[in-house]
Subunit: 204 residues, 2 copies
């Protein structure tokens, strides 16, 4: 086993440190968050921090680092109240990763990638066309994390659009049936091929 | 596409609702959190909400639902200040999932599964022996989420123990080389076989 103590971690060169620390927590969700400013400029950005907070009401969170370009997403959703979460899938990994490039706010990532905007009913934020899972989200609460000046954004699911092939009888969504990706670290993507389900566990 | 509006989601039977909402955010990290009460009783519980908050300092978060048995983990880490995060790997999925059973606090999940406690130096909480990644964590901050009465627990990484075969030259940790699992929904587990890395992205 390789061992790193806290002081050894702190002393690592920047790139090694972010590679290591971004990987050790395990696989991360792979999503594109879509938003649109009040002025009508759309934004699309890859996020690996979408996390389940509760099912009733249906709440998902994600983390914003104020020092990065991903702040466009935060500004748009605070301005308008709405955003979308769209799963990243097999053939679009490279384009999805490209949304991490630091484009100025006037440029929409929809214009520099193969992703297309999809609007459904009167929902203000753009969904990603062809994404196997598309969630319409409404901003709910935010928490400023004192430890490192990040922001936890919580939103409530307003709409779910999902490919039928993914949905089992009990509404379990088999992500592997949509070639949905997971993220490893800062720049690694994997597309799991199958999932094994276990039963509800009781004490032996 | 199947569509669910907010009111349709709210009207779903409980099991369908938790299956659907636990899956739509994408793959989740698969970890066992180890802890030990002041009285010396150990606890081990599966968590799918471990999320990266920052690398410098190295901070990971996870979400506690006060109404579940997983509260043992929270009580122990608040009492003692320390816990461990251990990756779930290929041959142990069934035992890992079994730690979700609601055992009373006096019973250690280490005694009803094949997992063994590992103690390193003077770190109070037990690591999971043979887990490819073992993190020694110190409790840092907590945030009470008003929207649904959950708790976000943040901790700082104190120690990393990691199988050498996973670690690339730039300290990217290739999770697939350790047969590390990801979680799909409430009860689905997958072990991705390979990872593709992309370069740092700049505007075109």
């Amino acid at each position: 086993m390789m061992r790193f103590t806290k002081s050894q971690i702190e002393a690592l060169p920047h790139l090694q440190k972010i590679n290591l620390i971004n990987s050790v927590g395990g696989y991360k969700s792979a999503n594109l968050i879509g938003s649109k400013s009040k002025n009508g400029i759309t934004n699309l950005a890859v996020f690996s921090s979408v996390t389940h907070y509760g099912s009733s009401p249906a709440i998902l969170g994600f983390v914003v680092r104020p020092t990065t370009v991903l702040r466009n997403t935060y500004e748009n959703l605070k301005e308008t109240g709405f955003y979308t979460i769209n799963s990243i899938f097999g053939s679009t990994l490279e384009d999805a990763h490209h949304t991490s490039a630091k484009y100025p706010k006037e440029i929409s990532e929809f214009d520099v990638t193969s992703f297309s905007e999809l609007y459904l009913e009167d929902f203000y934020a753009p969904y990603v066309k062809n994404a196997p899972i598309q969630l319409g989200m409404k901003f709910l609460e935010e928490y400023h994390i004192k430890a490192n000046n990040t922001i936890l954004v919580l939103g409530e699911i307003q709409n779910i659009n999902i490919q039928e092939a993914l949905v089992e009888k009990d509404l379990f969504v088999n992500l592997s049936h949509g070639n949905i990706a997971a993220i490893n670290g800062l720049d690694g993507y994997t597309v799991p091929e199958s999932t094994e389900r276990f039963t509800y566990q009781r004490p032996k």
